[in-house]
Symmetry: C2
Subunit: 381 residues, 2 copies
DNA sequence: ATTGCGACCGCAAACGTGTGCAATACGGCG
DNA sequence: CGCCGTATTGCACACGTTTGCGGTCGCAAT
């Protein structure tokens, strides 16, 4: 009864056009509100605001002015409901606190924003179960597309993708069948270039500190390392290939293990810059010097690489650009194109101060100021 | 006419319960679809799926099973439209590629996720105009709340907040009037502790390398530095307080300027770790050593601080925790509570290897292994 | 004067869900 | 046998927007 009365009151308020809504003090004005104000129907308002040629320019201008004055903001959720497109994408990532993910996310967000898309952030914390839940949640939000970086679930994506029917692109993780789209760095070439660089400096006993095994990037970078060894006629020694978890803490332990070997390495090729940072710490803790006693290479070229002491020789990934590319490919996918498939971007070796000639004294002393030299190794191709 | 016929066909298909929808092959099943399958009305399905006690447990179970089998995913956008709450928050940040922002974002995302909220990521690129646009866009998406970290617009928020009528909390930026809610680090205390630490080590000529001036965190940290000087009877020298932009590149230049002074500093208190990283580079480039020739302190305790060489003495912010707190406060605000206002979290000085006793030789040599010592300075309070 | 046409506008339906209320069924009680 | 309370379900509407289609009006052509 009370309810009914409220309903009637609303009806009355709606009838009187000059009357401003008073019932819900803190409601955003709707398209109908400003239609009433402009004394037109709400479809006309809708058309006016999207610059439809179907509406008289004069009334359109008037409507726009009134909408502006009323502080009207169209509801993306209502629009999404009827158009069945939310102009929204999901970004799932192990954690945005990871510098690599942060850079990629930045590129994605920028490209998305340029095209009027908003991006949902979802941390998987490197947990497969959690990652699956995230993708499900994104599907409920009716995102138009999904980008996953450095996935931890891998083979479960295929069925999920089929079920969800949502365009999806992976960055730095790929899926064998050519069903899933992706943008990847040239892991093998990059890792091979780094290792070749060490070999050219005279190193023969070269170690590799990887991520947890089983993920594609890890596998490929290890493979590049092996290729370079093989090409130089150096036998691959399993004891020299150890695993961390992609973060400095684990790398310290892994590197320390290598240094305790009877015949320790004089150079180490690391899975990424975080690992390299940990490796350098372990080396110094044992009283050894970089690069005089052991040379170190990284992968990624994160912002801190050139500010380490010595600055880090590493393989550069154009992370932000890769994020952009992923988003651009996703846009194509969402608009129906199906041709993008998977793109591979070239890696670039950046030689700095953490690598030196084998033997006690630094023969080739690259200036430590963070200057970037073009890759000494062969260009991948 | 044709339209009518299609309408009839749909009606027929809807009547035949056994018939699976064939007209729209790639449409997500709606609540009505599974209502038809379960031979109940769609409100019953809605109630069953949200465990309402109003529905018979047996039919509820049956409905859930059918929904599960059909791969039904409720549409958050439709739900948001009717409930007027999207369970969505916006996070605007200068850039997620910044490690500080990344950590905060991580904490926010986690807390949001725990409570069933999704977060929109919006980079402002430190541009006020862009930041305003972002907030507007978020309002159109009908977010339930907004978190802004390290804002660059400041005074424009008040009117926007009033107009948008969306709960909002700022992290590490605050607004004078007690209208805006915020969570902040104790900038003055932290910066003062760092400076006091340098003074206790015997330094008298202590420089400060800040961010661009005008932002609150910068002002407060500079203020803490001045307070410590004053308390020790050291006169503040304007030539020793210079500005970078919070990133290493600018810090290199700023620090280099300091070192060219007739009477250069023997210690430098930096606005944040990124700045400190740049300062260390500048010091080394001039052939000087850290900390023997000049001591350096940072602020933030980013992940790389303990892996620099030497490891960085800095003021720790519990960044992830601060993100969580911001989100939790926002949750309270969104549920109607209005009591949170602004919280200030304590900063903690972490002494490592980049600070040493004034004079050529390192007197107090903290172990370089990244071990964390409790603050030598007085605890702020 | 009727017809036709183009410009402009409103009607109504739809998107998928939640919810107040009425309706129905059923069992117990007087 | 009638009445009432309770459990369960369906009806109808709402949320704010888009869009196909039909309607009105003014004007030129027949």
């Amino acid at each position: 009864m009370l309810e009914k009365e409220r309903g009637n009151a609303a009806q009355v308020a709606l009838g009187g056009a000059g009357e401003r809504a008073r019932r819900q003090p803190l409601r955003q004005p709707s398209i109908k509100d400003i239609a009433r104000l402009a004394r037109v129907s709400h479809p006309t308002v809708s058309r006016a605001l999207q610059n439809s040629p179907l509406v008289n320019p004069a009334t359109a201008a008037k409507i726009r002015k009134i909408a502006e004055a009323a502080g009207y903001r169209p509801s993306a959720v209502a629009r999404g409901l009827v158009t069945r497109r939310t102009r929204t994408v999901g970004l799932v990532v192990t954690t945005v606190a990871d510098p690599f993910a942060g850079e990629v996310a930045c590129g994605i967000e920028q490209a998305a924003n340029d095209h009027g898309y908003a991006v949902f952030l979802a941390n998987s914390n490197a947990d497969a179960e959690c990652e699956r839940k995230m993708v499900q949640a994104l599907a409920e939000r009716r995102v138009d597309g999904i980008i996953v970086t450095s996935s931890r679930v891998g083979s479960d994506y295929l069925p999920m993708l089929a079920e969800l029917n949502v365009p999806m692109v992976l960055v730095n993780d790929q899926y064998p069948g050519e069903f899933v789209h992706s943008v990847m760095i040239a892991n093998e070439n990059g890792s091979r270039a780094a290792t070749e660089h060490l070999i050219e400096l005279g190193h023969r006993r070269i170690a590799y500190v990887g991520d947890r095994s089983g993920y594609q990037t890890e596998t490929e970078r290890l493979e590049g390392y092996k290729q370079a060894l093989a090409a130089a006629g150096i036998e691959y020694a399993a004891e020299l290939a150890v695993h961390g978890d992609g973060r400095p803490e684990a790398a310290v332990a892994a590197m320390d293990g290598l240094l305790k070997l009877a015949d320790p390495p004089t150079a180490v090729c690391c899975y990424n810059d975080m690992t390299a940072m940990g490796a350098m710490r372990a080396i110094r803790t044992r009283g050894l010097r970089v690069p005089e006693d052991v040379s170190v290479t990284g992968f990624d070229d994160l912002f801190f690489a050139k500010y380490l002491e010595p600055s880090l020789t590493t393989v550069r990934q154009p992370m932000r650009r890769m994020g952009q590319m992923a988003m651009e490919n996703l846009l194509k996918l969402m608009s129906g194109e199906d041709s993008v498939a998977q793109v591979k971007v070239e890696a670039e070796l950046v030689v700095r101060g953490s690598t030196g000639r084998a033997g006690a004294n630094p023969g080739l002393k690259v200036e430590t100021g963070g200057t970037r030299a073009s890759g000494a190794g062969r260009r991948n191709g």
